[in-house]
């Protein structure tokens, strides 16, 4: 799912070269940490968090199929 978050974030931001996603794989949960340029934070979060929520919906569905739990953390 790292590639999924990476490609979506790169498509949303102004500075795609500053998009970094790292994956922390746990037994139950895989945490995906997304870092973007400070000025691009609003682009990945969206108004009232709508964009972040949309990405999480997609991640949740993908996880359901794979019977895994993915959590997206947007790091500031």
């Amino acid at each position: 799912m790292k590639e999924l978050i990476e490609m979506i974030a790169k498509a949303l931001v102004d500075s795609p070269d500053q998009v970094v996603v790292s994956e922390v794989v746990g037994e139950q949960i895989t945490v995906l940490e997304l870092r973007v340029a400070q000025s691009d934070l609003g682009k990945v979060i969206g108004k009232q968090g709508r964009t972040a929520r949309s990405i999480r919906t997609l991640l949740g569905t993908a996880g359901m199929k794979l019977r895994k739990r993915f959590v997206l953390e947007i790091l500031e």
Binding site: L4, A11, T51, S54, T57, L58, A62, K65
Partner: protein
């Protein structure tokens, strides 16, 4: 020479392909050019996942595409995601619900409150009842909680 619109449709097409593959969803899609934009039709094994809980995933994918391909200062480009004709089936359903609820409001003189819905669905309710005598509609609440209310009028 490809027009700007054709280039945009090609970019969206390759993005959707990559997105569905990366999310490991068992879905295929077809892109249709429209007068002022395009529609991405999803179909295949995982349509149930796209349409469950009020088509949450359908709206999520649509939102991501809208944000990713938003180009300020260019001509209007409406990017719609659809799945098994969900949009038209839901519109028909909402028109029926709106008319029925409006009758109830007229009989009881009590307001009727819909469940929260996305903007495009609220719009269908407003338009359906725009010319309906004896009732008026408004949206209230914010974000995910925004919902249509029908009030008695006149």
């Amino acid at each position: 020479m490809k027009t700007e619109k054709e280039k945009r449709i090609a970019r969206v097409t390759s993005f959707v392909k990559e997105l569905l593959a990366a999310a490991e969803l068992d879905l295929e899609f077809r892109c249709d050019a429209e007068d002022q934009g395009m529609t991405v039709h999803l179909y295949g094994h995982d349509v149930g996942l796209v349409l469950n809980s009020g088509a949450r995933l359908l709206y999520a994918i649509n939102h991501i595409l809208n944000r990713a391909f938003y180009e300020p200062g260019t001509e209007a480009f409406n990017l719609l995601v659809d799945c098994n004709d969900y949009r038209s089936r839901r519109a028909e359903e909402l028109e029926g619900l709106a008319r029925k609820a409006a009758e109830g409001v007229k009989e009881s003189s009590e307001p009727y409150l819909f469940d929260p819905m996305p903007a495009s669905e609220r719009r269908i309710v407003h338009i359906t009842l725009a010319e309906e005598p004896g009732v008026m509609t408004e949206s209230e609440g914010s974000g995910l909680e925004r919902r249509v209310a029908i009030f008695p009028a006149g």
